[in-house]
């Protein structure tokens, strides 16, 4: 992605006359940097606590940088009776399938709303935006009821299906396609292509950037989801990480702080990676969705 070749540009700008530090702004820079360090301290403490031998994690003064490297706590988590790796795999599976599903439903719906003329368009579009107003955590009772009645409670599907209705996705895809020129699609139609061919060969290839942004957002949301899996899963074998960590923390008697922090560190690592890769996409889409939503 675009991250790697950008560095020289930053480097040049850092030393260029116009972008260099204005002395008047120095106090602001120092204050903002101090604030940023405070923002990062909890993560530093998490990491250094996870590196402690399991008995010494509580040691004061608190260490924000690890004083030694030890994998004891990590091994303790992996060897615990709680199937941590299984939960990790569940989280990955749920997030990956949800992301693929949301990308598919949003891209097709966005194409229809932006490019096709049909009756009931505004009603159906309004229906697709209801999700902006209705948080899924408030639909837990009927979801639990419905999944229990159909027997898919406590399965991976109970965690994937509710995530597939994405108002943000439909909105983003439609908005993006409306801003793209439609001449290419019209030309393909005149040349005798059918709508499926137009979508697959002309529209979809343009949708790369918004699909990337949507995928990053959806993956993160799914990975972070806590309330739904808390109700919809009971067996440790179907749990995802956020719920698994709760049962791990509840069994705290056997679990040292270092082990808990090791588990949290492992759980958040994919988010750090996703963020470092997709920083630009995420920040752009947040600012845009915020201002237009």
């Amino acid at each position: 992605m675009a991250a790697a070749p950008r560095r020289p540009e930053y480097w040049n700008r850092l030393f260029s006359a116009t972008q260099a530090l204005h002395w008047r702004n120095l106090p602001v820079c120092i204050a903002l940097t101090a604030g940023a360090v405070v923002m990062l301290l909890p993560f530093l403490w998490m990491f250094s606590a996870s590196m402690r031998p399991t008995g010494e994690a509580y040691q004061l003064p608190p260490n924000f940088l690890p004083d030694r490297i030890s994998a004891d706590a990590y091994l303790k988590v992996l060897n615990s009776p709680i199937p941590f790796l299984r939960m990790y795999a569940n989280s990955l599976l749920v997030a990956a399938v949800t992301t693929a599903g949301v990308a598919l439903t949003s891209a097709t719906a966005g194409f229809a709303f932006a490019r096709l003329k049909f009756r009931g368009k505004s009603t159906l579009f309004a229906l697709c935006l209801v999700g902006f107003m209705v948080p899924p955590s408030l639909l837990l009772v009927p979801l639990f009821f419905g999944f229990a009645a159909t027997g898919i409670l406590d399965s991976i599907w109970a965690l994937i299906l509710p995530g597939l209705a994405s108002s943000l996705g439909v909105f983003m895809m439609r908005q993006f396609m409306l801003n793209q020129p439609r001449e290419l699609e019209e030309a393909a139609l005149i040349d005798g292509a059918n709508y499926l061919q137009v979508f697959l060969k002309v529209s979809l290839p343009q949708m790369g950037p918004p699909i990337a942004a949507l995928s990053i957002i959806t993956f993160t949301q799914s990975w972070n989801n806590f309330v739904l899996p808390l109700v919809l899963t009971r067996k440790a074998e179907t749990m995802t990480l956020p719920v698994g960590l709760l049962s791990l923390a509840d069994a705290y008697g056997d679990f040292s702080l270092a082990a808990l922090m090791a588990a949290v560190t492992m759980a958040v690592t994919p988010l750090f990676i996703v963020f470092l890769i997709g920083q630009r996409f995420i920040i752009e889409s947040v600012t845009h969705s915020g201002l237009k939503g």
């Binding site: 930053y10 480097w11 700008r13 116009t18 530090l21 204005h22 702004n25 602001v28 820079c29 204050a31 903002l32 940097t33 604030g35 940023a36 923002m39 990062l40 993560f43 003064p61 598919l104 439903t105 097709t108 719906a109 229809a112 049909f118 368009k121 209801v130 107003m133 948080p135 955590s137 408030l138 639909l139 009772v141 009927p142 009821f145 419905g146 299906l161 509710p162 209705a165 059918n194 709508y195 993160t220 806590f226 109700v231 990480l241 956020p242 960590l245 709760l246 923390a249 808990l260 922090m261 949290v264 759980a267 958040v268 988010l271 963020f275 995420i282 920040i283 947040v286 600012t287 915020g290």
Partner: protein, 293 residues
């Protein structure tokens, strides 16, 4: 309709089907079911339903604990909105100036990182930072010779602690949106005000604030709707305690629906929250039509 129009209509329906099935099954149907459940008594084992009219509403609205959690939730919202939007605006104002781009990159990354990491993960870190005897925060307070604070155990302070973590977690989001709004304020307006002899405070109040009012309004509404659903942080940090000091409406919904097995009572509290959210969204739309632009 002509044949071509029919073809387009059918194609549109085909493209919309995957998304519409998801929206109908996991958003619209649960929404309707929530309203229906409110009027029913649901057997917790057989899921059999009998119509009981408004009895569920009467029970919930006469439950002092419901109003206590409602009050708690609004107390949380009041503090979290002021903290998130206020600090977000301050940070955005500080960032809205010429800074070396490497520093800007680092600051954006540091302030935004917690937004992406789920509450369900970071709450464990904060739980130990807030710990009375062994927590990092009280360690430094003791070092200053002050009495340690019962961050999570003192009835009067526990809610503020939940808010502190919430602001740490979400302020980066509001900062980004307000920063984008500030950067859209026309430079000429501020310069004109400066020429007319206005000081920086006067410029901020009379020029900047009216220009970013739509973004501010969005932030307040967004933070309020998010605050209405607060659950994860309270569940892990304090589990509602001490007493009921940090128990939110969603926690009440959980304990009624999935603790006591009274699904209908859970539906009533969820339905009440959905109505409140609808009122807030309507008010946001009304205010922006009436007062802004």
């Amino acid at each position: 309709m002509t044949r071509a129009a029919w073809r387009e209509q059918i194609a549109a329906m085909a493209f919309l089907t995957p998304a519409l099935i998801c929206f109908l099954a996991f958003l619209v149907a649960p929404l309707i079911a929530t309203a229906v459940f409110c009027l029913m008594e649901i057997d917790r084992f057989t899921f059999g339903m009998t119509y009981v009219g408004l009895d569920n509403f009467r029970y919930v609205f006469e439950d002092a604990r419901f109003w206590k959690t409602f009050l708690n939730t609004f107390q949380f919202i009041a503090m979290a909105v002021v903290g998130n939007v206020g600090l977000g605006l301050l940070l955005a104002g500080l960032l809205d100036r010429a800074l070396p781009s490497a520093l800007r990159y680092f600051l954006r990354l540091a302030y935004f990182l917690p937004v992406l990491i789920a509450t369900a993960f970071v709450s464990y870190i904060w739980k130990f930072l807030f710990d009375f005897d062994l927590g990092a925060i009280n360690y430094y307070i003791r070092l200053l010779g002050l009495p340690p604070v019962g961050w999570l155990t003192d009835t009067r302070i526990a809610m503020a602690s939940v808010v502190i973590m919430d602001v740490w977690k979400h302020v980066g989001f509001f900062m980004l949106i307000l920063l984008a709004a500030l950067q859209d304020v026309p430079r000429e307006l501020r310069e004109a005000a400066q020429v007319d002899g206005a000081g920086p405070v006067r410029i901020f109040v009379s020029v900047t604030i009216p220009c970013i009012a739509p973004a501010l309004l969005f932030c307040v509404a967004y933070a309020t709707i998010g605050g209405l659903q607060v659950y994860d942080s309270m569940r892990i940090l304090t589990n509602g305690g001490p007493g009921d000091a940090t128990r939110s409406v969603v926690m009440y919904m959980f304990s009624e629906a999935f603790g006591a097995g009274e699904l209908a009572l859970g539906a009533v509290s969820a339905f009440t929250l959905l109505i409140v959210i609808a009122v807030i969204v309507a008010a946001q739309m009304w205010i922006s039509r009436r007062w802004i632009r």
